[in-house]
Symmetry: C2
Subunit: 273 residues, 2 copies
């Protein structure tokens, strides 16, 4: 099944097209650019766009020579459906709202998907500082709070295998780029039950994450709060960690899962199961 023989080439190209349109964002993408970027002729791209447009998956605007394409609202349903499928999104969102209200920070929920931490829900904090916390963003597992937490919660060899596969390159001076440093951090996370991304992905941004655990004690996801490092002096970190862990446990319990204390305690012995 992982075999590359059984693929539909034209569908793959159409997905490339969608990818490029998504990258173009609100500004939209032009036919000629799209065709060139995905290595297709204009008529071919034109036909694909017409097909996607008929389904509402892309919309066009502008007339004549300046027609542009962007993603259409038909994607909304599919994206929401994908989140609903996880079972985590709907449970987490109301609690995330309470967390954001309590600590006054932007909060998120993420799950591991193909080695990356995918953000499936967010609640923007108050104030002018907005973080471009796009849903569906794939956060690198080695330099994001949610990513490190989810890796720390799984058997060590699996975590290392993921790191090897998706990489763990340096992004800032603070990034834990070596497997040794990451392993030590995982150990600390397992003891303290929360992960810290201290300017390891983007300079100036700090992020605290806690795990959400299922019935068997394995981590099904993670929640986090994000803010500017300068707004979170180290002495107030505990006052944020406490509600973070508390609300994470509430989500775990709402899912019928284990609280963090139980899950982390049972992790080492259950790891080989």
């Amino acid at each position: 099944m992982a075999d590359e023989r059984y693929r539909v080439q034209s569908l793959g190209r159409a997905l490339d097209l969608i990818e490029r349109i998504a990258e173009a964002g609100q500004a939209g993408a032009r036919l000629t650019d799209l065709a060139r970027d995905i290595g297709l002729s204009k008529p071919a791209a034109y036909a694909m766009l017409a097909t996607l447009r008929a389904r509402g998956l892309v919309v066009d605007f502008g007339e004549g020579m300046t027609r542009r394409y962007r993603l259409g609202l038909s994607f909304v349903r599919f994206g929401d459906q994908a989140v609903a499928n996880t079972g985590l999104g709907d449970v987490a969102m109301p609690i995330l709202r309470e967390l954001t209200q309590e600590v006054g920070l932007t909060s998120r929920v993420a799950m591991l998907d193909d080695g990356f931490a995918v953000v499936i829900g967010r609640v923007d904090g108050p104030g002018a500082i907005r973080f471009a916390a796009a849903l569906g963003r794939r956060e690198a597992p080695h330099c994001s709070g949610v990513g490190k937490l989810l890796l720390a919660a799984m058997p060590r060899d699996e975590a290392l295998s993921i790191l090897e596969r998706v990489g763990h390159e340096r992004r800032t001076p603070n990034t834990l780029a070596s497997l040794d440093a990451l392993g030590a951090d995982f150990d600390r996370i397992a003891v303290q039950h929360y992960a810290v991304d201290d300017e390891e992905d983007v300079e100036g941004i700090i992020c605290l994450a806690a795990g959400v655990f299922g019935p068997s004690g394995q981590a099904v996801g993670a929640i986090s709060v994000t803010t500017l490092k300068q707004l979170l002096p180290s002495e107030v970190v505990p006052s944020v960690v406490e509600p973070l862990l508390r609300h994470a446990d509430r989500i775990s319990l709402a899912l019928g899962g284990q609280p963090a204390a139980l899950a982390w305690a049972g992790r080492s012995k259950g790891a080989r199961a």
Copy 2:
């Protein structure tokens, strides 16, 4: 461009496939059923699924004869991007949260897309009563609060043309199924600045909607609150309408648009522009 000649058939079939998988929801869909439903051979559907799976657009679970497919998290990013493109989603969500907190009811934002009101954001209310308010859902324009509001805000002939195109059939005893009844309701909405779906779509459900207006005074979207009819006696309706209109105006202003009073007043004379 609306011409049906220039289409990519295989892409269209793949989109049918995605549609069916979305319909199957959390339970997932099986290869054989999918192939049959979209009128394709098993090998063809198999290749499409492999292509989609490689991109994370579908995920499979279960082994052997009971393998099932559901939508994958890669759709999340596209859905969020589509909402972000509208410019309305990100502005409306924080205010929607305040609205839900203030009135204690589930709230939503919707936009008109291809004749239907598409829900692009929601905040679930507290309490056990959850409404399956899926994002991306296309609400019929004639029997939903947001739909009727958006139709009432546009030139009457355009509204009628949409109703003719997408239909306006009866769903409950309360549904306004005639164009006359709908027209009268549009007139009332234009005067009172809010729309009511009083068990017109689903029995037992009531919904109040208010408009969000852009700089030129045209409606760019609508927000609504929904609850069980029996929980909202008519004497308390005004106490919900007031914050609804107030927060809707806040969204309009945040977009650089006009408040409802101005927009509705300027509607008739600007209609032919």
